[in-house]
Symmetry: C2
Subunit: 335 residues, 2 copies
């Protein structure tokens, strides 16, 4: 969310399902950061996590165990506790009169559920039947940057390779990256538990199930969710999703083909004005490069990096270049 | 080098310039591993490293300081000590009658210097004038996999995003990744020294100098070197080069457009038979995925990973999929 967007001053009642997970904690942090007052904040989690105290805006909130009665009298609920919990409890919450914002993929492609990025298709919210889905994190990053360009110059093809952090797999995955890295540095053997493969100083193809074409679920989600959000059911999109040993913030290398010619300067200008997007595209790298052949002593160029992005609400974009493998000036690379 | 390739039984004399660097050490390891006997092995480095003892095939070799007289009576020299050293000493070695294999980028695009990958264009060696250049590591990886396909079905466009390890920037960079990771894990502040940005749990656009189009040197090298090796001066290629916190072995996400339709099975079949390439493309990922929505208990799929590739001479390739953003069946994604 961008500061320039209108924000609610207060919410009467809000439940966060999965409050002790990575997304739940981030939701609590954002409530605090944006001074969103919640008269009645209910933190819900598995019975195992019930009783934990979580600090939100200086107040300690006790986490309660999720149950069928949890949503009585609650206005809004954010679900982020995995698909199985959403599938079971989101309809219960809706029946109790609650409006559900669901972070799982269960309802995203359901034709009765709007799939919304507030900066892109806020009007779709009006069609909700109780549940509003929010897209996969990798989808959001690409869509935030591509949408403002697509509006001006329709996209004809999108090719994306991701560099996804451990945070996308939850708090336990981030912990595994830490412990495993320490193990590798100390020469200890590594036994993956959360991830199927070692994550420390390694990377691998996203481990979600593969479809009949060999694409993993993360890759398919990016294609289908982007098409739904853009109201462009046939948009040509292809994706390769890779998990990298980064703590927070996903990165993506994006190649775009447009209907009409476009220059990197035009892209930068459009993205400078786009809500929720920050352009970080500075410098010429005339510094002491690791490339031993090119010495110098100037400032390194600045492009988006996960350690800069992870404390940001905005999506960072840079390294914007004309793709010269298309002679017609209609293709752009960015990171 | 593939075991099936014919190997020299012995070399009369060989100098390794930059013997204490990451590539120099790897060269020593490969001599040993492939049982290449060298009657007179001369390890050369900066005066600072002179005197260091390096073990090659059970024999301790003392590193000597590089000088103008170093190449007298030496048959072959491998240079991997950066561009400045190659520019100054490679011509001296050639004058002394030595055949130089140069790992720097100084001579790669020189029309009088063959740029060679033995599996692809060994015949170009015949044209040498004393120096034979070997390509950039990122170029080699892509070329090894793309060449066997290009021969059967000419490539019309290549889009590559890299995931480059610290090893590409040398031994000191690998050391920095280790120390910095330990610092981050202990909550200590991090001051980058070899790299311009923090590398631990982070990633960034390759820090080589940018050209007027905003492409860094690594990205341009991949384009121009591949065209030279393939004898395809106009091949449309576009690249995005990213440094990731991995110790050894670069990865690349490659999107290929062919002249004629091609299926993933055909790609796998061609690559199975390609020298220096191993296909790792197994399974369906029906396991306990980190994606909480998809539980199961089967084996995780196997695709290429840096920790598997770094002890391999072969280039690993997998996650081969039809790119369905092209309806004509002429495009393929691979990792």
């Amino acid at each position: 969310m961008n500061d320039s967007m209108q924000q609610p001053r207060s919410i009467k009642s809000l439940a966060i399902v999965g409050a002790t997970g990575a997304v739940g904690r981030e939701a609590c942090r954002i409530l605090q950061q944006h001074h969103i007052a919640v008269d009645h904040l209910k933190l819900l989690a598995s019975p195992r996590s019930a009783g934990t105290a979580v600090d939100v805006g200086g107040h300690s909130h006790k986490v309660e165990a999720l149950s069928e009665a949890s949503f009585n009298g609650i206005q809004y609920a954010i679900f982020s506790a995995g698909g199985a919990i959403s599938r079971e409890y989101a309809p219960i919450a809706v029946k109790a009169g609650c409006i559900v914002v669901d972070n799982s993929s269960v309802f995203r492609m359901d034709p009765d559920t709007p799939l919304v990025i507030p900066e892109i298709n806020p009007d779709d919210i009006a069609d909700h039947q109780g549940i509003i889905a929010n897209p996969n994190c990798s989808t959001i990053i690409a869509a935030m940057v591509v949408w403002p360009l697509h509006r001006v110059n329709p996209i004809k093809r999108m090719i994306i390779s991701t560099y996804q952090s451990a945070s996308g797999a939850g708090a336990a995955a981030m912990e595994e990256l830490k412990t495993q890295s320490a193990d590798v540095l100390s020469g200890r053997d590594v036994t993956p538990s959360v991830f199927p493969h070692p994550i420390a100083f390694n990377l691998f193809v996203h481990d979600s199930p593969l479809d009949e074409h060999g694409y993993n679920n993360e890759e398919s989600k990016m294609v289908h969710e982007t098409r739904k959000i853009f109201h462009a059911p046939d948009m040509p999109i292809t994706t390769t999703c890779i998990r990298v040993p980064v703590m927070r913030a996903h990165s993506e290398s994006i190649n775009l083909e447009f209907t009409n010619p476009i220059t990197p300067d035009e892209v930068r200008k459009i993205l400078h004005e786009a809500p929720g997007v920050s352009v970080v595209d500075i410098g010429t790298n005339q510094h002491k490069s690791t490339d031993a052949e090119h010495a110098g002593n100037h400032q390194p160029a600045r492009f988006p990096m996960p350690i800069d992005a992870s404390e940001h609400d905005d999506c960072l974009v840079g390294h914007i270049r004309q793709d010269m493998s298309r002679s017609n000036g209609r293709a752009i690379n960015m990171f």
